[in-house]
Symmetry: C2
Subunit: 244 residues, 2 copies
């Protein structure tokens, strides 16, 4: 259980991570403009452990997800189930939110439980090393985040797509990596120096499709898509029902 | 073919659409902070036309995707295939990009073809009407963007997931809508007053899986995932091979 407290939200006037730009252009003769953010492309990796017949995912506290849940709690009446899980988030009144309405201020002390910000995701990383292939970047993420050391040549490309089309237009390439317990060289967990606090979790193959479609388990679309991709393309190899 | 020209990029100091915030917090006793953006949740809809046995998608010019391709072209040697498609983008030198490096400035006049910014997506929209159910918002988007008038009760919920976990933490709920030619009441195309220039396109069911995995066709993960979902869950009903 993550312990999240002393939460404070402030407007962000300058950021090393969020750099908004505006593009003006003519589309079919009509003058238009669009605000967007520059970002890096990314890779994600579906990891399957052939020793334990489990998928290997990462689980972490995502501040942006947590803040999104906080917003939802302010504007909607409290709901049971998901929202009442035990958590350790402590109340703290945000400062300097000059653009917040009175009603938003009233609700700002009701921080949801820390679990509201936790998501299950594929192992993933940004393409921010110019001389590395996508496979090499994916290999490094599998090692750093999940602790498995596999050669880049063993990464199978699944497909690519736009991970965002409104604010960012970045491309994500998804890979599939088969690992075994023999490849496990560390506990993973990300780079603490980069502030990563990542928990490595295993989802047994026979529970995967139930996991994928259980909306009570917060996750990215990549988890759902890749589990179904495996079911359609790899399951026969393992002669195991994935319980669809 | 979209005609995109007179392109100019400027830093965006204030935006109605991009509002960066910073959250400070303690995670397991460690002081951390994270920059994020507030955004609305969204809905997306896989539309299947039972008269023509086609999926109905939207196709539009996405400035953020276009700018991402421009970045890629600057840092990588030109590639053939995708990059040399005929296009109408005209060169224009961006102004006020004070934070650009010299090498970036050199490449800035090489705008890619307009096709570089065009993506195929599911019909989708933001959840920005507080008194509307997700189904009702989805229904409105199907009508506005694609021209089909179907009751909200005919929308089947597929699942939900986080559409972003780094910058935004928004939730997207995906629906499935069966429509027929009888439901078609307009050409769709979005709200011109909101600046939407959307082309409605049909993908025949028997071509869907080839379309989904063809990386030369720029698309969102939602298109790929939903086509596979249909293949696994709905295809038997239509007794048609989807050519996997």
């Amino acid at each position: 259980m993550e312990e999240i407290n002393n939460i404070e939200v402030v407007p962000c006037t300058e950021s090393d991570y969020l750099k908004p730009f505006r593009v003006h252009y003519n589309q079919n003769g009509t003058k238009k403009s669009w605000d967007f953010m520059r970002t890096h492309d990314s890779v994600s990796v579906l990891i399957f452990n052939t020793s334990s017949h489990c998928f290997v995912l990462v689980k972490q506290f995502r501040p942006a997800v947590y803040m999104c849940e906080w917003e939802r709690n302010k504007t909607q009446p409290p709901q049971s189930a998901e929202k009442t899980e035990e958590g350790t988030a402590e109340a703290a009144v945000p400062e300097s939110q000059e653009d917040q309405s009175a009603s938003e201020k009233e609700g700002s002390s009701a921080w949801p439980a820390a679990t509201a910000g936790i998501t299950y995701e594929l192992c993933a990383g940004l393409v921010d090393k110019p001389n590395c292939s996508l496979e090499e970047i994916a290999r490094q993420e599998v090692l750093e985040e999940c602790g498995y050391d596999v050669p880049a040549s063993k990464l199978k490309r699944i497909t690519s797509y736009r991970s965002g089309v409104g604010v960012t237009g970045a491309k994500q390439t998804m890979f599939y990596a088969e690992v075994s317990d023999d490849n496990c060289v560390s506990a993973g967990g990300g780079e603490p120096l980069e502030g990563e606090l990542i928990e490595v979790v295993k989802v047994p193959l026979h529970e995967a499709m139930t996991f994928a479609y259980d909306e009570r388990i917060p996750k990215t679309m990549g988890v759902i898509f890749s589990f179904i991709w495996f079911h359609n393309n790899m399951s026969p190899k393992y002669k195991i029902s994935t319980n669809v």
